[in-house]
Subunit: 244 residues, 2 copies
DNA sequence: CGGGTAGTAGACCGGTCAGTTAAATTTGGG
DNA sequence: CCCAAATTTAACTGACCGGTCTACTACCCG
């Protein structure tokens, strides 16, 4: 273990241990002028493929798909480029793997928390926005910047560039909309909500969330999410044009 | 004119004439596999600086800031790189000029149309969404793809990357919100709308628009804007917590 | 012990990146 | 017509791009 060649390579060793599942989204404070030292290299104890995914996830989320190179992902993961292309046929395929992991992370950390049944159906949507706010506030505190929605970022950058990535993101969007729709169904069932167009309302609510997160990123201010999030209940789409 | 060296260079000549002010946003049909021939080179009759701005605007809007290189912008404009750096100190400064032009374009073609006083204040907001829908539908028809909001795209990609660009986009956002806020004020004045929190409502409406345009881009379907746009009137934020 | 295989290393491919430099050319005013 | 300023040209820098290739190591199974 001591003579592991990785330990005396020229790659700086990690000063933080980032578990890919929980804290894999955190990065260090950003310095616009020197991006090479923004994010420390990772711990090398996790298996190589996972380290590559984690490295890519953090770098691409903090910057963008196009701005981050394969070489930089490898450096951060403490892996040589040959190994990278042993595990992934292309940068795009790596990104699809990153999207899988991010979707899982979002389900485990955000959705399962927000949509737990210890809240009334409509409170779950408020809770979803609160959790997103808290997440963005935390990354802003850690890195000095709001990084926005990792799916929305890729949708905006890559939808015109890579059809597979676009479809993967679209599919993730559908899944989130479906969870919101479930809550709306429940709200109608419990009488918390009048009869509405569930599908259209869920899509509108999700679009609004993506919008406020993007505005928050543009202003670099997480409070936008909290403030504008309060208006989300207005987005219920009536089932008919008849007003009661 | 015949012996203009540009006419026997290896740069393919334009087959369309793109005026920078009106039709400068249109591009040809996209082919994911061969991006070098997506967009034809421009007419060389306009002055160089303007051609560079137009070329950059179209390329960056269709793809992304990072993905488009200075060389490609120059090729499309029929200009050598040295000329580029005669007019612009950097790629970023060119992008700021592009943002200026896009803001002007949006004001002239969208805002001034939507917010004209021949409609009731609230209808102006519906009209704004209609115009955005129509614009996105048109680019989808022309290029095969929804390109989304040029400001939102740059906000998502560049907010963490370039502070000047982030602030420029944020300022443009503020301007649009202000126009929406004006309409809401008018709506209250004419009695079309009950008393609401104008500023918060304007911000919520704008965030929602950005959100639905982003979702439309992710689905590559302009109809999303039309469909979800109908729910925008629900986003008025009550002035107080008191319900009447 | 032999041999197959998963994983790793590092050089290498053609091409592009943003930006620089210096010289040549065009332009417009006196 | 001449000169100077504005503009354009083309070669160039050093770094980096995504991806390929071959050789080598480490480990597992028989």
């Amino acid at each position: 273990m001591q003579n592991d060649p990785r330990f005396d390579s020229d790659i700086p060793q990690p000063d933080t241990h980032l578990c890919h599942q929980q804290s894999g989204m955190s990065i260090s404070r950003v310095d616009f002028t020197d991006r090479s030292t923004i994010i420390p290299v990772m711990n090398t104890s996790v298996d190589t493929k996972q380290r590559i995914i984690d490295s890519a996830q953090e770098l691409i989320y903090a910057r963008s798909y196009t701005d981050v190179g394969v070489q930089e992902i490898c450096n951060r993961a403490g892996v040589k480029k040959g190994s990278f292309y042993h595990f992934f046929p292309s940068k795009r395929d790596l990104t699809l793997a990153v999207l899988d992991q991010l979707e899982q992370f979002f389900r485990d950390s955000v959705q399962d928390n927000a949509f737990s049944s210890d809240r009334s159906p409509l409170e779950r949507i408020d809770r979803l926005i609160e959790l997103i706010y808290e997440f963005q506030r935390q990354t802003r505190e850690d890195s000095g910047q709001i990084l926005g929605c990792p799916f929305g970022n890729l949708a905006g950058e890559m939808s015109t560039q890579d059809e597979q990535i676009r479809q993967r993101v679209m599919h993730i969007f559908r899944g989130i909309e479906a969870r919101i729709a479930e809550s709306l169904e429940d709200a109608i069932a419990t009488g918390e909500l009048a009869d509405i167009n569930v599908q259209a309302s869920a899509e509108a609510i999700f679009a609004y969330i993506e919008g406020i997160v993007l505005i928050a990123k543009a202003r670099n201010d997480p409070e936008v999410i909290r403030k504008l999030g309060k208006a989300v209940r207005g987005l219920m789409v009536p089932a008919t044009m008849v007003k009661e």
